[in-house]
Symmetry: C2
Subunit: 347 residues, 2 copies
């Protein structure tokens, strides 16, 4: 193993889970925690006060700093683990040159709001980060189960699968298994799409559809997702850019793997999913605005529905489910009518 | 529509649900209910006393008889809806010639115990039923949600898809959508396999794996199931036998459709599934014998695991998950060790 030094940017549940995984494995972590009170609390009490507070953290291995650039200077591998809504704000504090040559591991499950692009595109455009230095780290993985040390699978994706494998080695433990693949764009799109379908599952639940219907809806969503990823020719774009056509590159990824179907399932079936809760309120008749007020947050599937709708205008995959979720959320289509349309396309 | 006369054989929950669907649509049904007390109760109170007792039945459209041959004489389409464990016993009462030329619709989710074959093979061998007269009717469909008139999807499969479509028309209603396909053997195998994987999901739950793991396990099970169905070349066997090669025959079925992935999901995720409950007890340390005693019944996945294990000795699909579930149930492999093996193959 190459002896990487890790930095983690973010201090929410998911960032805390990743810090726990790395330090449980005996690796030192440079951890950017903005709030000084939070820093002191973690140092003294050995757990994050607000997020994933039941996860014990080995502070001996932590170097907690409040300056993002310091984390970058001290680390070879930078794990970005902030909600997608805040990523631009965080990156504004970063000195572009500190990112040069660093390996960026995105643990962000969403599209960069504003430009509405995947994070690798945003980093390439604005920070000169090359795709070969960019990796995605995705679940299915509720942070709460990491805290409880329940076995979970993480997928590390990158066009250089050897480096992805290398990085993944730092995370593998008694409660973390790791998988690697090269479908760097596909896995990120899958992580965005699943939130749209989970939001739709919530709407269906709010409309009082039952478990029989939900299973049909989710199975068809899995198929629609695979169709989008296949049509987008994700793998080929990556391969084309980098002339690294190997045997494994030529095949479609296995869309039943954990990072695709597994993550869709855990997100759609979890009653704790924010997207599902948000959708449930929409299905029960709340307006988008009042559901947001009530939840005091924005579910990621809400913006994702709009982004994917526009992206798919170019790609042209058949996405009746995602399109109708978009129309319900953004074009005031009634949920009842929307699901009557969805009913017709399910097989 | 051809004006079919329907007979339903069986009086459990699923048979009652199918009788409700047909009579709600205004179709007369010749219903074989063996127990005379049960017959009287249904005629007087308009619902089945023991099974799905909350489903109201329009008795004006019912011709309830206790002789199976009478049902066959009076009907063109015979819906078989008894548990697979009892099908041989029921068929023993049937006069072979009464089946000649009749359309048999199997709503049985399992393999015929003893000869361990699909029902179409058993009927062909012992009753001369031709495959072109045989159809499968499958979910995902909990009978309880039919009683509650929650929208559910039924798939009708047969090598003559036009007739399958015709029959399905009798079931389509405000709360039943129908799908047809030609993969008559594949859909039946899928209905058997899903019980094995659901039983395994129960074992995992009993071993205290969490939701993250379960989603990975189920996603990989879906892939394993598709691999078996593809390798078995089901479609081709059927086509080869009957020289009905059409465009749609040439394609693999869509294994994300409701009858494959949807049914797997509803069975694996339902906490009410008998297979999952049975598996849960095995995972918690009960022996197979004591779990059976405690539940006072046999979960279908238990026999299915053995049948598929033997069938796959010929087909040779990669089935590490189903094989280990088999070894836990039939070869005293410890559930802990079994799942340590399964952990290694999941992606």
């Amino acid at each position: 193993m190459a002896g990487y030094k890790f930095g983690v940017v973010g201090s929410g549940s998911w960032a805390t889970a990743l810090v726990k995984i790395l330090t449980d494995n005996g690796h030192r972590v440079n951890w950017w925690v903005r709030n000084e009170k939070q820093q002191d609390y973690i140092k003294q009490r050995r757990h994050n006060p607000q997020y994933l507070s039941n996860a014990y953290l080995n502070v001996q291995l932590l170097n907690i700093v409040s300056n993002a650039n310091e984390v970058l200077q001290l680390s070879d591998v930078i794990v970005l683990a902030v909600p997608s809504a805040f990523i631009c704000e965080v990156l504004k504090q970063v000195n572009k040159k500190e990112l040069a040559g660093k390996k960026i591991v995105s643990a962000i499950k969403g599209i960069v709001p504003g430009p509405d692009v995947l994070l690798n595109d945003y980093l390439a455009e604005n920070y000169g980060v090359e795709l070969q230095n960019y990796f995605a780290l995705l679940g299915p993985c509720h942070a709460e189960e990491v805290a409880a040390e329940k076995l979970s699978y993480l997928t590390f994706s990158g066009i250089d699968e050897d480096i992805a494998e290398n990085i993944s080695g730092y995370f593998k433990s008694s409660y973390i298994n790791t998988v690697t693949n090269q479908d760097i764009l596909g896995v990120q799109y899958a992580a965005v799409l699943k939130n749209i379908y989970a939001l739709g599952a919530g709407i269906a639940h709010g409309l009082e559809y039952g478990d029989n219907f939900l299973s049909v809806y989710i199975a068809n969503s899995a198929d629609e997702m695979a169709g989008f990823l296949r049509k987008a020719g994700i793998q080929h774009i990556v391969v084309g850019e980098h002339q690294q056509q190997t045997e494994s590159n030529k095949r479609d990824p296995n869309y039943a793997a954990s990072v695709y179907l597994g993550d869709l399932l855990v997100t759609c079936y979890s009653p704790y999913s924010r997207n599902r809760t948000f959708g449930n309120m929409i299905g029960k008749g709340y307006t988008v605005q009042s559901a947001q007020l009530e939840m005091n947050m924005v579910a990621e599937g809400y913006n994702a529905a709009k982004c994917i709708y526009h992206i798919n205008n170019k790609i042209g995959a058949e996405m009746p489910i995602a399109s109708i979720v978009y129309r319900i959320l953004w074009e005031k289509m009634s949920p009842v009518e929307g699901f009557e349309e969805i009913e017709k396309v399910l097989i």
